[in-house]
Subunit: 121 residues, 4 copies
Amino acid sequence: MPDASTTLTDLREIVRRFVEERDWRQFHSPKNLSMSLAIEAAELMEHFQWIDAAESRRIGDDPIKLGEVRDEIADVLCYLLALANELDLDLSTAICDKMVKNAAKYPAELSRGRYAPPPGD
Amino acid sequence: MPDASTTLTDLREIVRRFVEERDWRQFHSPKNLSMSLAIEAAELMEHFQWIDAAESRRIGDDPIKLGEVRDEIADVLCYLLALANELDLDLSTAICDKMVKNAAKYPAELSRGRYAPPPGD
Amino acid sequence: MPDASTTLTDLREIVRRFVEERDWRQFHSPKNLSMSLAIEAAELMEHFQWIDAAESRRIGDDPIKLGEVRDEIADVLCYLLALANELDLDLSTAICDKMVKNAAKYPAELSRGRYAPPPGD
Amino acid sequence: MPDASTTLTDLREIVRRFVEERDWRQFHSPKNLSMSLAIEAAELMEHFQWIDAAESRRIGDDPIKLGEVRDEIADVLCYLLALANELDLDLSTAICDKMVKNAAKYPAELSRGRYAPPPGD
């Protein structure tokens, strides 16, 4: 089931089943899940801690390291899906709504090649 | 486009276009994106910092707070999708592969109601 | 050398020597050290992830867990001292200056028992 | 009171008084403080997010940016001191004990210029 044919709901259901089979919803308060997300994000960051940006772009050259990074990314996504399940939030519409705000804050023509809101914003 | 009918590729394309229209791939090294992810995860966590687990489960009662949390969740997901784009990783198969490992580490019958690998693991 | 008789400079020198003996300043850019700090803070947080606030106050009852938490706290402090060394910042005056700002933002009489700036701020 | 003449206890007392004057110990469970620490570390990291390691070494050239970074570092340290206060941990001996472990894990002669435990470790 590749990304091209997998819906967000498909992935959410995989996580939901895993959590329910273990009776883990009792631990999955949004507070705790937000901590889990930050912890997994830090574990992902650890793989890039002592290398520079250019080296980090070549991490795919090393299949073992890429596999580790892939597992950490999956962990972050799992907790994000678990959090969306607990809060009953639709992720796709959340992203679309946020992208509208982002586009207003960073107009394409004024933001080309600069990672900051335009002057005067 | 709700989660039930939106594929991971659909969302990845939204992020990819946003980044390309602004010529931001130059900033999007995996190292930098892993930092962004951790920063956004911390901003999400901030909403739950001083409340307890039970209160955090009721955050949906306050539409304004829920909206803020929803925006932070969208930010985390956007950076995660941007990172998957840079590393050319399929998220759906990454999750499925990781879930197989998780199921081996936390067998359902031995992990019911306990959030730790079974004794002797 | 307990806290009562150890100066910040004493601890900074311990870290400085450790780093110099290993020729590690080349890795210690402020960017990298800020990542290290966030990573170690997440490792500390991991010890409190699935327990509630009340349980976390009793962590000292378990000498093994307290020892692990103590090591993580030491790691965070080491990187903070390394960062102060690289940026040549005096931590004591930085804290005092920040505390003046904090006291203005959270006046004692208006902030008793509430963890937010007073209304209208 | 510069670092050369300020003890860890001096700084801990500043934080302790600030917290007590506001009756904030009720919020300062180790769980919550570990979240605060991670949140402040992320805010610090934000200043280095889109610049490279070399630029981050020159942050001191910009007094305004350096002042912002200095405030974030102070925030991290404040929460670390608050956590040490809650757990009644001596930071100086914690650092010294951890440094003995670090020196065993990263022997100076085998770790010169490499940021990883020696092979076979």
